[in-house]
Symmetry: C2
């Protein structure tokens, strides 16, 4: 039986650069599926007809409207293919309207000088941190193991009297476990709860409008992580006039920065 | 006479959603024009046919190939227009090939709860910091006033023995001065020298492949800055296998976070 993440990324070819997929019930969120699987299926479509060795280095996903249950189509259009870098544009159409789009930068990565200036936080190992009880209400929460080191979300009926820190540090993995790849890494970048909930301590109408992922690890380095949890660090800089940002880092268990992301989420009131 | 930045953003309508512009000699860099003006002209095209009050909140620019001297065309395609958020796709074509593309998120911004969690660095005022001598070699350097508080670039024939900090803090303004708007703010997000030069202390073949800007200030808040320099903070997290990242903040002189950006730059060797 397929892992639910692979089922969520399943695509059938229906023409040149055109694929058909299905909004994944197993990853359903409050309105539509978890944005991480949408990011992953758009990325997968961009990769399907690429030559061997071409890997994603950057992905921007624009969430134009909530997906509804049922099928969708994805159109892939190469924009430019240079010697070492390729640009691809992808659109997800549901019911004659664009529900999501992505731009993907791909490259053949070679060994170069390297230098990691960011430092992984000093945290206990994943198996020393208890897993969050995901409850049974939201399917997508059950598709991940969340082990909060700090900044677990506390929700109340009323907002906190003073805004709290936007920072969360957690070990996170697919549930059931699945070997990490670029697709699941893209999805993991969207696994952090909307920062406006975190800072205010209450739910407000909100949703991510755009997410950008930078992949800092190549396929062999990502594969080395296997199915062990990655360390996620999420934070935010500002919330104002309907929009708040979020930045995230995803670290391998050995302290390698695998991916970073930023996103902008709309919120109301 | 027009400000050179406005000339760089000038577009003539040549059909529905189609515009003609010109690669700006006044902003020429080593190969092609400064990426900031390319970002600005793509953003301007996305804004041209929007209703009053609609403002940019996010912009991702993909640099597919260096622009060459001469004209270009820009195609604007609305992807989805919701009640409060709009998504627009933009492509810049030169010589029958896509040289740059952008996705733009637009919104009508309203007053909401707000909270700025990021803090502006404590720095001397702009007029207490000497301006860098931009030399006469690269036109685009002469279009900006760079006042480095820390992390001014030091270039040598040979790389530093040990990598240095990727962080730079500087006051920066258009030269000649120009009142700040969303377009110049987008361009300013690309004004930081490629971080791989900064860390290694030497020039290597390099170029930005993608940049994402989040606008945290609305038009009235940006206008309040006038033509005073903004404080830029640039940093990086990692450089590996041909790619290095960059994050940036742009602060108003009064400590308001106006925009943040991330980019990924290709480098060789």
């Amino acid at each position: 039986m397929n892992h639910p993440f692979d089922s969520a990324c399943a695509l059938d070819s229906v023409g040149p650069g055109r694929y058909r997929g299905h909004a994944p019930a197993a990853y359903w969120n409050m309105a539509g599926p978890f944005g991480g699987t949408t990011a992953a299926v758009l990325l997968r479509a961009a990769l399907l007809e690429q030559p061997d060795g071409v890997e994603p280095v950057a992905l921007t996903v624009n969430y134009c409207a909530a997906l509804v249950q049922g099928g969708f189509e994805i159109d892939v259009r190469p924009q430019r293919s240079g010697k070492s870098v390729r640009h691809v544009s992808v659109e997800l159409v549901q019911g004659d309207a664009i529900a999501a789009s992505a731009s993907v930068v791909l490259a053949l990565r070679r060994d170069t000088w390297s230098c990691q200036t960011a430092k992984m936080p000093d945290v206990p190992p994943a198996d020393a941190v208890p897993a969050m009880d995901a409850g049974e209400r939201l399917p997508w929460l059950q598709r991940y193991e969340f082990r909060f080191v700090s900044g677990a979300m506390e929700l109340q009926a009323q907002p906190f009297a003073e805004p709290r820190s936007a920072r969360s540090v957690l070990w996170v993995a697919d549930s059931p476990r699945r070997a990490l790849d670029h697709l699941s890494l893209a999805a993991l970048c969207d696994v952090f709860f909307v920062r406006v909930f975190q800072v205010r301590g209450t739910l407000v109408p909100a949703g991510t409008v755009t997410m950008t992922v930078h992949f800092h690890a190549a396929a062999d380095e990502i594969a080395a992580q296997g199915d062990s949890p990655v360390l996620g660090v999420a934070d935010a800089q500002t919330f104002t006039r309907n929009f708040g940002d979020q930045s995230a880092q995803l670290w391998s268990s050995r302290g390698r920065l695998l991916a970073t992301s930023t996103q902008l989420a709309w919120f109301k009131a």
